[in-house]
């Protein structure tokens, strides 16, 4: 079905085959829109929401940027790792990374998972990007590469608004990394939408933490729409929970802190009130998951 569009066929497509070449091309064409496997951006270009004059297609860099590895104590994920590839990674099969399994199971559809990349998910920075809360809870950093070199930015500082990221025009996000929290930690993610597959969340939440002898030694919580329209950490709730025994009383207290910390809004997907009820129930379920209960 053709829709009325503006000179879409005039787009200039740049298809480099190495990172070095990509960085040089991007430096010369800072107005180019970067595409990996395009599953998020392509429909938006087709319907005219995004009107790029130039596209820098980095899918040819899959050989360079499709790694998942552990380097010292850092887990490093190349920007072009697809969701399906992540699913098969042995490093992430450890219990403390089970939040990844949770995100993957609810991510898009099987067909989308075969092309969507983790770098693309982070750079799209929209409410459908379910990896962001989990990566925030892992305290992830992004690596931005350009002809000038590399810089690392905390994911928290990288995502600055809905579809707004802290990327300079000549930079490409090449890697996402976070510290392996180590034995004893666990992670979990939940998402609720109108149906199970291919749905944008009403709310989602990710938790990374360590519970030892019934006590919460450490916890990091991130969820969509804590304050604005992007995923953020629930730091007051984290502070409240740290050091406390994981029991009904603590959870009741945490729910109170979280409900004061969030400022949810109504939209066409759900009311603020419903969102809040879901978020509080999720907090309880995810905290119990940290303790190893389902």
């Amino acid at each position: 079905m053709e829709q009325p569009l503006l000179n879409r066929s005039e787009i200039v497509v740049l298809q480099p085959s190495s990172l070095k070449e990509s960085l040089k091309l991007l430096n010369e064409n800072p107005d180019a829109e970067i595409i990996a496997n395009a599953s998020d951006l392509w429909p938006r270009i087709r319907n005219g929401e995004v009107k790029p004059k130039k596209l820098l297609d980095i899918s040819g860099l899959a050989g360079e940027l499709s790694y998942v590895k552990k380097d010292e104590n850092l887990i490093k994920i190349g920007a072009l790792v697809t969701v399906s590839q992540l699913e098969g990674e042995s490093i992430l099969k450890e219990k403390r990374f089970s939040g990844f399994k949770d995100v993957i199971a609810k991510f898009g559809s099987p067909q989308i998972r075969n092309v969507a990349t983790i770098g693309g998910n982070v750079c799209a920075a929209s409410s459908s990007e379910d990896f962001i809360p989990l990566l925030l809870a892992f305290n992830a950093k992004v690596k931005l590469s350009s002809v000038d070199g590399e810089r690392y930015v905390n994911l928290e500082k990288f995502i600055i608004g809905k579809r707004k990221i802290n990327r300079r025009p000549n930079e490409i996000l090449t890697e996402i990394s976070f510290e392996d929290p180590g034995e004893g930690y666990s992670s979990a993610f939940e998402k609720i939408g109108r149906r199970n597959t291919l749905i944008i969340n009403i709310v989602n939440m990710a938790v990374v933490g360590k519970v030892k002898d019934g006590k919460i030694e450490d916890v990091r919580i991130a969820a969509n729409r804590i304050k604005g329209k992007i995923p953020e950490r629930a730091k007051n709730t984290e502070e409240f929970l740290k050091g406390k025994a994981l029991n009904e009383e603590t959870i009741a207290g945490a729910k109170k802190v979280l409900s004061e910390e969030v400022s949810l809004t109504d939209d066409f997907r759900a009311s603020a009130e419903y969102r809040k009820a879901l978020l509080l129930a999720m907090l309880e379920r995810l905290l119990f998951k940290l303790r190893g209960e389902q």
Partner: protein, 155 residues
């Protein structure tokens, strides 16, 4: 920029085609190659009806730019017509009357084929997960699930 010359490998046939930068793989498969089993439902990556195999994996041809399909092997239902497993799946679709309007049938059969070719005797739960991103507005899915399930069982 004018048209781009892209070498595509579809159903084992290599061909160079001229594409516009905004052409989708879907457009090229239907209009250049004539593979009409590939259907456009939503055109936004939500319905699964344009599913084809890229390097053996199910993908949505409506969200893949045609220029990105180079260096990949694309397979549509037409390319599996003589495959014994696909014949079995199609027999079961007929036996279960798993097609009504037929618009989702090529996508469902390709996904069933992909699942069963990796895992003979897939469970109904696995079939449900495999087709979870592909919509059917007629059958209520049960006949489709049963057809794929029976095609995966020993004769």
């Amino acid at each position: 920029m004018a048209q781009m010359l892209v070498k595509l490998n579809v159903n084992g046939i290599e061909r160079e085609v001229l594409v516009d930068p905004d052409d989708r793989l879907l457009d090229v498969l239907r209009d250049e190659f004539g593979y009409k089993s590939v259907k456009e439902g939503c055109g936004t990556g939500d319905c699964g009806l344009c599913t084809v195999l890229m390097d053996g994996k199910p993908v949505l041809s409506c969200v893949i730019p045609a220029f990105q399909a180079k260096n990949h092997k694309i397979t549509t239902l037409e390319g599996l017509n003589n495959d014994p497993l696909m014949k079995k799946i199609q027999e079961q679709f007929r036996a279960h009357q798993a097609a009504q309007c037929g618009f989702c049938t090529p996508a469902m059969e390709i996904i069933g084929w992909h699942l069963l070719s990796r895992k003979k005797g897939a469970s109904k739960q696995e079939i449900k997960e495999a087709i979870s991103g592909t919509l059917c507005r007629c059958t209520g899915y049960y006949d489709i699930i049963d057809a794929i399930y029976d095609a995966g069982r020993p004769e």
